[in-house]
C-alpha cells in the first residue's frame, strides 16, 4: 500500500523521551539471558570439536554420565533428524552427528548439579576422531583440489566444473558492460579481501529450558526472534509449536548474530532427559568459536569512468564464505555492490564457498559491507586518478528516483543525493588536513525489510494503553513503538507501555532483523491504534446517538465530524475507556500484516584518519555519518544506530578478524585478541539525519539499523589510502599491512 505523504505535523514522533526500559537497565534489574533461575535448575556445558574437520568415529560418554552430579548427556543422536536443507544444517550445527566441520563445532552436552561438575564431565567424554583435511580461505576452497567440506550441496545454479565447495552462484545486472568499458577514459581493476568478523555482542548466548514428560516446554533465551527459536526447537525436539513457549529475555546485543539457534535445543534435550530445568550459558570463547561471524570475502571489481567522472560500466565478482554450511549471503552483496549508482551497464557475479569455519550468522546488512567497500574503493581511486572531487563523482552518478537499480527494480524516492549534498556542505568536508592525514568517503546502502508482524493494542479502563508486540528490543524500539502509538492515538507517551510478548501470547512475528522493527512493528502499531480508534469512535457515536461514520478522532478524542453530525463536546480516550464496559466491553486494536514497502536507506560517511608512517598505526581523527532515516521517530536512537554501526565498521576496517592457525583452529577467541574498538580508539561520531519520507510507511519511516555499518569499510580504507598515498585492498588494515604498503615504495 502506498501512503501518499500528506505532509503531517507530528506532535510526539521526533521527540526524545526516556526509554521505557531505561530504569531497569541502569539499575541492573533488567533480566538478560543468563539472569534467571528456576527451582531445581541444572547447569550445562558443551563439548566442542578441537579439530577443523574430522570424522566422529565414536562417542563414549558413560564415564561422564557416571560422574558425580551429572544428570544427563546429549549427543547429535538426541535431536530429531531433519530432512529439509536449512533445518538439517541447523540441526548438524547445533550438535554434529557424523563429522565435525570446524573448530568449536558442538559434539555433546552435559547437565549437572553445578557448572563445574558439568565441565569436569566433559573431560570424561571420549570422542574418537579421524582427522580430515581442512580448508579455511575462500580462494583456496574454490580450487579443484581443495578438501571437500560437504559434498552434494551445490544448487542447480552452480555451473559444472567447480569444486564441490561452491554451493551457490548468482548473477545480476543490466546493460552491455563491454560496450560501457569501451567508452571509459580510465578503467581501474582491483582485487580485495575482507576477513570474517564477529558481531561482538557483549552478552554471550544464554538460555534456561524446561521440558516436561508430557511434551510441554518453556524456554527463556536471548534471541532476536522468539518465534523462530520456537519453530526450530520444536522441529529439533519433536514438539508441537503450541507446547513450546519461548520468552525472549532482554537482549545484550545481537546485530544479526542472535537470529540463529545454537544452544537452545541442547538445553531442551538435556531438560527432557533429566526432568529438570537446565541453564546453558556460552563462554566468550564459545561465542567466537561456534556462533556466526560474517562471511569472509575475496572480490574483484572493475569500473570504467569518463574524464568528467561519469561511470560507464562496472563489474564485480564476489566470492564469499560463510563457513561449513551453505548460504546465499553473496546474493545480497551482488545486488547491493553498485546500488548507489545509476548505471547503464553493470554486472555482478556471486559465489558461495564452503570452508571449515563456523556457520555464518547475519551481521548488520549481511553481504553488503564488503561488496560496497570494494566498489567504493575503486570509485575513490578513479576520482583520485582523474583528479575529481569524490563527492562530485558520486553526485554525478548517484542513484535517484527513476534510476534502474543495480539489482533490477526502479528506485522510488531515495535520499542519496540529499545525503551526498549534506556531506558536501558539512564543515567536516572542508576542514584542513595535516601531514599523514587523509579524508575518506563512502556511500552505503541497505534494502531494509518489512515482513510478518502482529501487534495488539489494549485500551485500559484508566485511559492508558498497553501495546503488545513480538520483536525483541535491541536498540530502543519500545520507545519508538510507544511514540508511534501515542502519536496516532493522541495521548501522552507516558500513558503507553509497550511489552514484548512470548510466543504463546501473540501471533507470529518475523525476527528482529533487516532493520524491520521500527518500520513494520511501527506500521502495525499505527494500524492497531487506528483499529482501536475506529472502535472508540463507534462507542462515542452510540453515546451521542449518532452514526458511527459521523465521528472522527482528533487530538486523543472522539469529535463529531463536522457541523451536521451534531454538537457534542469531545469524548477523550480516557472518558471512552472509563465507560467501555457499559458501552460494549473492553476496547482493543489489533493488526497483522506481512509488511511490504520498506524503503531502502542510503548513508554517506566521512572519515579523517592519520597514519603513523613508521608503524602503520591508524588513528581516526574525525567521523561524520549522514543518513536518510525517512522519518526519525526517536532521533536519539536513530543517531545511536548510526554511531554504533560506524564504530563496528571502523573496527572491521582496522583490526577485527578471525585469525586461524595452520591447524585450522581459531587463534583469537577472546576480546583481548579479537580487537573491537574501545572508547579511547574512537573520536566523537557526529551524525546528520536526513528525512526523505518513505512513501511505504504512514509516517515515512525507513529502517536505519543496518545501513550504518556499510560505509565505514570504504570510508576508512579511502582515508588511509589517501593518507599514505597507496591503495589498500585488504581488511582489516592492521598496522603490519599498512606498514608493508608504505615500505613497499
Amino acid at each position: 500500500m502506498n501512503y501518499v505523504s500528506k505532509i503531517r505535523k507530528f506532535k510526539q514522533v521526533g521527540t526524545r523521551p526516556a526509554r521505557p526500559d531505561g530504569d531497569d537497565k541502569v539499575t541492573g534489574r533488567a533480566l538478560y539471558g543468563a539472569d534467571t533461575v528456576a527451582p531445581g535448575m541444572l547447569m550445562a556445558a558443551v563439548l566442542r570439536s578441537p579439530h577443523a574437520h574430522a570424522q566422529i568415529v565414536s562417542i563414549d560418554f558413560s564415564a561422564a554420565l557416571a560422574h558425580d552430579g551429572v544428570k544427563a548427556v546429549v549427543t547429535g543422536a538426541d535431536l530429531v533428524a531433519q530432512d529439509e536443507g536449512s533445518l538439517r544444517d541447523i540441526q548438524e550445527n547445533c550438535l554434529a552427528t557424523t563429522r565435525v566441520l570446524y573448530d568449536g563445532h558442538a559434539v555433546a552436552a552435559v547437565a549437572a548439579l553445578t557448572l563445574k561438575a558439568a565441565q569436569e564431565a566433559l573431560k570424561l567424554i571420549k570422542v574418537e576422531y579421524s582427522a580430515l583435511p581442512h580448508v579455511i580461505e575462500v580462494d583456496d576452497a574454490m580450487r579443484a583440489d581443495a578438501p571437500i567440506v560437504q559434498s552434494g550441496r551445490a544448487l542447480e545454479n552452480v555451473p559444472e566444473g567447480f569444486s564441490q565447495n561452491v554451493t551457490y552462484h548468482c548473477q545480476f545486472g543490466h546493460g552491455d558492460t563491454d560496450a560501457g568499458f569501451a567508452l571509459a577514459d580510465e578503467i581501474v581493476t582491483r582485487s580485495f579481501k575482507t576477513a570474517a568478523t564477529h558481531q561482538g555482542y557483549i552478552e554471550p548466548h544464554a538460555c534456561l529450558a524446561q521440558m516436561t514428560t508430557d511434551g510441554k516446554a518453556e524456554l527463556w533465551c536471548c534471541t532476536q526472534g522468539q518465534y523462530n527459536v520456537r519453530d526450530i526447537c520444536s522441529a529439533l525436539l519433536g514438539l508441537e509449536g503450541s507446547q513450546l513457549r519461548v520468552t525472549a529475555s532482554e537482549i545484550g546485543g545481537g546485530f544479526g548474530g542472535k537470529t540463529n539457534v545454537f544452544i537452545e535445543p541442547l538445553a531442551l534435550a538435556l531438560s527432557h532427559k533429566s526432568g529438570r530445568p537446565v541453564k546453558l550459558v556460552m563462554s566468550r570463547s564459545e561465542v567466537f568459536r561456534a556462533t556466526g561471524p560474517t562471511v569472509s570475502s575475496s572480490i574483484d571489481v572493475k569500473i570504467g569512468m569518463t574524464r568528467d567522472g561519469r561511470i560507464t560500466a562496472g563489474r564485480a565478482e564476489l566470492r564469499y564464505s560463510g563457513g561449513a554450511f551453505p548460504n546465499e549471503t553473496v546474493s545480497m552483496g551482488a545486488q547491493s555492490a553498485f546500488a548507489a549508482y545509476d548505471m547503464a551497464a553493470v554486472e555482478t557475479l556471486g559465489w558461495n564457498v564452503l570452508t571449515n569455519r563456523p556457520k555464518e550468522a547475519a551481521y548488520r546488512a549481511p553481504g553488503a559491507p564488503m561488496a560496497i567497500y570494494a566498489v567504493e574503493s575503486v570509485v575513490d581511486e578513479l576520482s583520485q586518478i582523474l583528479n575529481l572531487d569524490p563527492i562530485d563523482v558520486r553526485l554525478k552518478n548517484a542513484a535517484r528516483k527513476g534510476s534502474k537499480s543495480s539489482y533490477g527494480p526502479t528506485f522510488d524516492d531515495v535520499g542519496l543525493i540529499e545525503t551526498l549534498e549534506a556531506a558536501k556542505a558539512h564543515p567536516h568536508y572542508q576542514a584542513p588536513l595535516g601531514p599523514n592525514q587523509g579524508r575518506g568517503l563512502s556511500a552505503g546502502f541497505w534494502f531494509n525489510f518489512g515482513g510478518n508482524t502482529c501487534v495488539s493494542l489494549n485500551v485500559n479502563t484508566d485511559g492508558t494503553i498497553s501495546v503488545i508486540e513480538g520483536n525483541p528490543d535491541i536498540g530502543g524500539s519500545r520507545a519508538s513503538i510507544s511514540l508511534m502509538a501515542a502519536e496516532e492515538l493522541g495521548v501522552p507517551y507516558e500513558k503507553i507501555r509497550t511489552i514484548i510478548a512470548d510466543t504463546a501470547s501473540l501471533g507470529h512475528n518475523d525476527i528482529t532483523d533487516g532493520s524491520r522493527v521500527t518500520f513494520s512493528v511501527g506500521l502495525a502499531t499505527i494500524k492497531a491504534a487506528q483499529d482501536a480508534i475506529q472502535k472508540m469512535c463507534g462507542r462515542a457515536a452510540q453515546i451521542w446517538g449518532i452514526d458511527a461514520d459521523a465521528v472522527t478522532w482528533e487530538d486523543g478524542a472522539a469529535v463529531p465530524a463536522g457541523e451536521n453530525a451534531g454538537k457534542f463536546p469531545p469524548l477523550s480516550l480516557a472518558e471512552i475507556a472509563a465507560v467501555s464496559f457499559e458501552t460494549g466491553g473492553p476496547i482493543a486494536g489489533h493488526f497483522e500484516v506481512n509488511a511490504d514497502g520498506a524503503g531502502v536507506s542510503f548513508g554517506v560517511h566521512l572519515c579523517d584518519a592519520e597514519v603513523d608512517p613508521e608503524t602503520g598505526a591508524t588513528k581516526i581523527l574525525r567521523y561524520t555519518v549522514f543518513q536518510d532515516a525517512g522519518r526519525a521517530v526517536h532521533p536519539s536512537y536513530v543517531e545511536g544506530q548510526m554511531q554504533g554501526g560506524a564504530a563496528q565498521g571502523i573496527g572491521w576496517a582496522l583490526n577485527e578478524e578471525y585469525i586461524y592457525g595452520k591447524d585450522g583452529r581459531l587463534q583469537n577467541s577472546g576480546f583481548l585478541d579479537y580487537r573491537i574498538p574501545v572508547a579511547s580508539d574512537l573520536p566523537r561520531i557526529d551524525t546528520v539525519i536526513l528525512e526523505i519520507p518513505n512513501p511505504g510507511h504512514p509516517y515515512g519511516v525507513r529502517g536505519v539499523g543496518e545501513t550504518p555499518i556499510v560505509p565505514p569499510l570504504g570510508a576508512v580504507s579511502n582515508a588511509v589510502s589517501r593518507a599514505i598515498g597507496k591503495r589498500l585492498t585488504q581488511l582489516p588494515m592492521s598496522p603490519p599491512r599498512i606498514l608493508q604498503a608504505i615500505l613497499k615504495g
Binding site: D23, E250, G254, G475, Q648, A679
Partner: protein
C-alpha cells in the same frame, strides 16, 4: 573442594555466604547472592561488564576470588540508586540515550562513578582512557561520553 565461609559487606549491608575457593566474586554475586546486575561478558577481564568496587577500588569481579573479599566492602550497580531516586549518572544515561542493549551499562556506570569520585572534571580523553576496559558494541561510545560529562557537570553543580 571445601566451602569457605565469608563475611563481607555488599552495598553497605553485611552479607555472609559460603563458596568454593575457586569461585569468583562475579559468580558469587550472581549465583549465590542474586545480584545479577553485574554482568559477565567474557570472564577474563577484557570487557568490564562485571565492574564492581572492592574496598573503593574499581575491579573486574571476574578477576577476584570471592574468598578474597573476607571483611571487604563491595559495591555493585544494585547499590547505586538510593531508595527513591536514581543516581545522577543513572538518570543522565537515560536522558542522553547512552544505552542501547544495556548489557554494558551497569559496568560503565560503576566505572564512570569511580572516575568522577576521584576526578570530578575529566577531559573527554581521560574519560575515554578510563573507560577503555568497558566494551560497548552498540553505541560507538559517543552518547556514553556525552552522558558522563553531562552528569559530571550536574554533580559539580550539586
Amino acid at each position: 573442594m571445601k566451602n569457605t565461609h565469608i563475611a563481607t559487606k555488599v552495598n553497605g549491608d553485611g552479607v555472609e555466604f559460603t563458596c568454593e575457593p575457586d569461585e569468583t566474586l562475579l559468580e558469587v554475586l550472581r549465583n549465590r547472592l542474586g545480584l545479577t546486575g553485574t554482568k559477565e561478558g567474557c570472564g577474563t577481564g577484557d570487557c568490564g561488564a562485571c565492574s564492581v568496587l572492592v574496598n573503593g577500588r574499581l575491579v573486574c569481579s571476574c578477576l577476584v576470588l570471592a574468598v578474597e573479599t573476607q571483611g571487604a566492602e563491595v559495591s555493585t550497580i544494585e547499590g547505586m540508586a538510593s531508595g527513591d531516586g536514581l543516581h545522577i549518572l543513572q538518570q543522565t544515561f537515560i536522558d542522553h540515550a547512552a544505552l542501547q542493549c544495556g548489557i554494558c551499562t551497569p559496568g560503565i556506570l560503576i566505572a564512570a562513578k569511580a572516575l568522577l569520585d576521584k576526578n570530578p572534571s575529566p577531559t573527554d580523553s581521560e574519560l575515554r582512557f578510563w573507560l577503555a576496559g568497558n566494551l560497548c558494541r552498540c553505541t560507538g561510545y559517543d552518547k556514553i561520553i556525552s552522558a558522563v560529562q553531562a552528569a559530571a557537570a550536574k554533580m559539580r553543580a550539586a
